[in-house]
Each structure stands twice: as structure tokens, then as C-alpha cells.
């Protein structure tokens, strides 16, 4: 086996005339947390289904944990855990029985099963509610149970399709930390799809961006941000005038300047230093109270990537 938990070459899947996944070549290093980003309908879920052998490829090839998706999908499913679009929990069964079922599915013996369920539920703060029917749980709790289910049999690879969808920010952060801790502790490779770029930025070692079935780039979050993200600054002060704004906009390093109440929002060219700008503003007679320097967020990088033609970003690592 290579150092990659997932490796695809020109993987393609069509639905009629639509190329839902179009010649995607990906490499996910073993032990990493990989974030698969893309707008709605980009082909994220389809990619995941292909990797699990739930859909057949129309072209190209892919191996997961060294097994071929077309011929050895059963072995892939044996060694992976999933949280798909829906939590997939049996609403009529209790939390415990749901996990019990999947423990039996993966041939965990009684002792191992009990110990593992207890360990995971305690970790997720759900042990006291183990006998509650799944219907009676909040969305966040269900997601947690589903994460526990995905990790139950200590799979070496876990697929998570938008794990934090529908969660409030606090619950999303908590779940993210749980996933991160459990993955690190057990050395599990995680492949997660998400729209939440802040999330991807915080936990992923590596991200891939897909749009209209095509992989635009595969890189680290920091790299992606610096590739396309803009530097920004927010300056709070008094005495901004139309003429000073116009002069500011005329500066070569300033790409845009917008005044909202007493806050000046700047978008700056790559490598722009802030102190000279502050000096310049002071000379213009502006009284400055606060200066906040922003790095370009992954979100901006993402939007920029989506807006680009995409042509120059298609030289994927292959």
C-alpha cells in the first residue's frame, strides 16, 4: 500500500449527460484529515459514494485503503466508517441499540462492543442517555451518535458527509473537536465534505476543491488561502473624507476601500505592509483609534476560486 488512504485517477461518474464527477485525481495521505470543499451540486456526495463502492465508476480508477473500488468494495466497507448525508440512525431504536447493531455488523464480540460503546458515548457526553430513543434526540445529539457509529469498529478511514450541517455554531465546534480528538487519538484518516470553510480551515491538513465535478485544486488550507485569498485591514477612526478616500483608492497597493460608519474596510494587494498605510492616513488628518489586520480567509479564497474561470487551476496534482 502507498502512503495514501485514498488515491483516484481520472475518476469519472456521469448521470446521463451530466458529469457529476469528472476526471478527478485525488490523493489523501494516510492519517490526515482531508476536507472536500465545493458548492452545492459540485459532486462531493457522488465522490464519496464512488469511493464506498455504492455507485459504479464510468471511467478512471480509484483505490481506498489499497482496495480497488470496482472489484474490492466489500473490503473497503469492511474497514471504513461513514456518516452520510442523513445520520442513518434507526429512530425506533435507542442510542445503545443503534450502536449495538453496528457493533454486531462489524463482528465486535460482546465485551469489546460494550466497552467501545461506553467509551465513545462517555466521550461524547451521551452515556447517561444511552437508553433514549433516537427520535427524542436533538439534531446535534444525533450527529454525535452517528459519529460514534462511524468510529465504533475503529476503522482506519472515516467518511463524513457534512458532519456539522444543521448544527448551531457551538454544537458544530464541539463536534469538530470530538472528531479531531478521536481521529488523532486513534490515527484515523478522515475524509470530510463541508461547506463550512472555517471548519475546514481549523481541522483539515489538506483540502480539495471541487466544482461541477472537476477538482480545481488539492492543497493545504494555508496554501489555498495564500493562493487566492486577499489581505484585508479594518481601521476604526474619525475624519475620513471623500477626498481622502479617493486618494486612498488611488494608491497602487489598495484594491478597494469602503467606509461603513467610522470603520474603513480595505482590501490590499499581496504583500502590502500596514504601518506605512497608517502613517499615510494620519498625514491625511485622520484620527485612528484601532487597526485590525485580517488575513484573507479561506472563504474568500474559495469564492475567488469559484469565480475564476477555473482553467488555470485545473493542473491538479496527478
Amino acid at each position: 500500500m502507498t502512503g495514501y488512504a485514498i488515491e483516484t485517477k481520472e475518476m469519472t461518474r456521469c448521470f446521463g449527460a451530466l458529469r457529476a464527477v469528472d476526471r478527478v485525481s485525488l490523493q489523501v495521505p494516510t492519517g490526515s484529515i482531508f476536507g472536500f470543499l465545493g458548492p452545492n451540486g459540485a459532486g462531493k456526495t457522488t465522490t464519496l459514494r464512488l469511493l464506498l463502492g455504492l455507485l459504479e465508476l464510468n471511467g478512471g480508477s480509484a483505490t481506498v485503503l489499497g482496495y480497488d473500488v470496482s472489484t474490492q468494495a466489500a473490503s473497503i466497507r469492511e474497514h471504513t466508517g461513514v456518516l452520510l448525508e442523513h445520520d442513518g440512525l434507526y429512530a425506533r431504536l435507542s442510542i445503545y441499540d443503534n450502536l449495538e447493531f453496528f457493533g454486531r455488523v462489524y463482528h465486535l464480540d460482546v465485551r469489546t462492543r460494550q466497552a467501545r460503546i461506553q467509551e465513545l458515548l462517555k466521550h461524547l457526553g451521551l452515556w447517561d442517555r444511552r437508553d433514549a430513543d433516537v427520535t427524542k434526540l436533538s439534531k446535534g445529539m444525533k450527529q454525535k451518535v452517528a459519529v460514534a457509529r462511524a468510529l465504533l469498529h475503529r476503522p482506519s478511514l472515516v467518511f463524513l458527509d457534512e458532519p456539522s450541517a444543521g448544527l448551531d455554531p457551538v454544537a458544530a465546534v464541539a463536534l469538530r473537536e470530538d472528531i479531531q480528538n478521536l481521529a488523532r487519538k486513534e490515527g484515523t484518516t478522515i475524509f470530510l465534505t463541508t461547506h463550512n470553510l472555517a471548519e475546514a480551515e481549523k481541522i483539515c491538513d489538506c483540502v480539495g476543491v471541487i466544482r461541477k465535478g472537476q477538482l480545481l485544486t488539492q492543497t493545504s488550507p494555508a496554501e489555498l488561502r495564500s493562493q487566492t485569498g486577499k489581505a484585508t485591514a479594518r481601521i476604526v477612526g474619525h475624519g475620513f473624507s471623500d477626498s481622502s478616500l479617493a486618494a486612498l483608492r488611488a494608491l497602487p497597493q489598495v484594491e478597494s476601500a469602503v467606509l461603513r460608519d467610522d470603520e474603513l474596510h480595505l482590501e490590499l494587494g499581496p504583500g502590502t505592509e500596514i504601518p506605512p498605510l497608517v502613517t499615510w492616513l494620519v498625514r491625511e488628518g485622520i484620527q485612528i483609534e484601532e487597526v485590525h489586520k485580517g488575513r484573507g480567509s479561506l472563504e474568500e479564497a474559495f469564492v475567488a476560486l469559484m469565480q475564476e474561470n477555473g482553467q488555470e487551476h485545473r493542473e491538479v496534482l496527478s
Partner: protein, 246 residues
């Protein structure tokens, strides 16, 4: 085998848990137990003793009416409640999932009939007082012991086939009732369409035939039909196809 029994365990737990708290669960079976175990035996006390096949025939109503709906809930319900894809993403094979579900439905219906048969036995013997102990005739024992699971498998197979493609339990149940209606209306119509001479000989055959033979023949037909339908079901129960029909 282990995987099939895991699926059976899950399905039976779901059937059981679907009926609310444990008190509510027992209560929900009471009407069935009352009708099949108390009401009918008392109503037709003499007939139950003198017409050998009557109890057996009556109990067949249960698998006929219950199995299809239960199977529809088991297969289409999994899709409707969005658990199908996760189940298909596990290590379980298509065959094990399919077999486990069919087996669970069959066990459920059979257990219900056997419970009713037992209650009837108690009811009849208690109500008959000191008369000789009542026990089912051979033909009824045959129907209860073997006919029930056979018929349950057949109805399950039909239920599975109509619900494999159905998005919801409701649409599966609708198709299922249309199919069973067609069978119930179609068979008599077919017989009526036969030439009078053939009809007469058919009636005569049934009237004079040895009931054991008729039951065996019917059993064989049901078995053959079940095997054929199940084979069709297995052929169509493939995860790469099921996913597309989400």
C-alpha cells in the same frame, strides 16, 4: 449466518420498538390475540372441532394480511427513514441484508400465528370443560406449522418486490394492495372464464379431493412461487442500483 442473524435482530427489535413502551407493545397485539385466540374459537366452537381445516385456514389470514405490509415497512421504510444508504455502506452483503429482512418478517408473522393458535387451544379447552381435550387436526397443524411461514414468505416476497422501488412505505403499501386485490379478484375471474365443463370438474375435484393432498399441492405452489419471487428480489436488491433510486 452471523450477519443474517444480526439483521434479523435489528429488524425484530425495530418491529418490537415500533409499538411504543412495553405496555403499549403488548396492548397493540391484544386485538389480534382476542379475535384469533378467543372470539373466533368461541364463536365457532363446534365447527372448530368438526371441520378439520377450519382453524388452520382462519390463521392463514394473518400472514396474508400482515406479511406484505411488514415487508414493505422493512424495505421501503429503510429508504423513507433515510437509513438505507448507511446500511448499504456497511460491510453487510446485499444477500445478507435481503435474507435477514425476509427472515425477520417471516419470523414475526409466524410467531404471531403460533401465539394465536396457542391461545385458541387454551380458550377452546377451557370453554369445553370436561369434554375430550381439543387438539388441532393434522391438516390444521400442517397449516399452522408450515403453511404460515410458507405463506408469510410468499407475501413477504411480493411485499419486497413492490417496495424495492418505492420511495415511501405508503406508496409501497398502495402498490401492494393493488397487487393482492388483483390476485384475489383475478383468480376467481379466471376460474369463471373457464368453460363450464372445466369449472364443474374443478368444483368436483375440490369437493372430493383429499384435503391433505390439496394442502400439499397448494403448499408446493406457494413454495415455488416464493422461491421464484425471492430470486427475482435478490437479483434486484443490489446496492449500486438501490442508491440510484433514492
Amino acid at each position: 449466518m452471523k450477519d443474517i442473524s444480526t439483521v434479523v435482530w435489528k429488524e425484530l427489535s425495530e418491529f418490537w420498538r415500533a409499538r411504543g413502551g412495553s405496555r403499549a407493545r403488548l396492548m397493540s397485539f391484544l386485538p389480534i390475540f382476542f379475535v384469533f385466540g378467543v372470539f373466533w374459537p368461541l364463536q365457532g366452537r363446534e365447527a372448530w372441532v368438526t371441520v378439520p381445516f377450519l382453524p388452520g385456514f382462519l390463521f392463514m389470514i394473518l400472514p396474508l394480511t400482515l406479511a406484505g405490509g411488514t415487508a414493505a415497512d422493512s424495505f421501503a421504510g429503510e429508504r423513507e427513514r433515510h437509513t438505507l444508504e448507511t446500511l448499504l455502506a456497511t460491510r453487510l452483503s446485499d444477500r445478507d441484508i435481503f435474507a435477514g429482512k425476509v427472515l425477520a418478517t417471516t419470523i414475526y408473522c409466524t410467531a404471531l400465528v403460533w401465539a394465536c393458535a396457542l391461545i385458541s387451544l387454551i380458550t377452546l379447552n377451557v370453554s369445553r370443560g370436561s369434554n375430550p381435550i381439543f387438539w388441532y387436526s393434522e391438516i390444521s397443524v400442517f397449516l399452522i406449522a408450515l403453511g404460515t411461514p410458507l405463506l408469510a414468505v410468499l407475501m413477504t416476497a411480493i411485499g419486497v418486490l413492490v417496495s424495492l422501488r418505492a420511495a415511501t412505505v405508503r406508496s409501497a403499501a398502495q402498490t401492494f394492495s393493488i397487487v393482492t386485490l388483483l390476485v384475489f379478484i383475478g383468480v376467481p375471474l379466471l376460474i369463471q372464464a373457464l368453460p363450464p365443463a372445466m369449472q364443474a370438474s374443478l368444483v368436483e375435484m375440490v369437493a372430493t379431493a383429499n384435503m391433505t393432498l390439496v394442502a400439499l399441492a397448494a403448499g408446493t405452489v406457494v413454495l415455488a412461487a416464493s422461491i421464484a419471487l425471492l430470486a427475482l428480489g435478490i437479483a434486484r436488491f443490489q446496492r449500486t442500483r438501490l442508491i440510484l433510486e433514492e
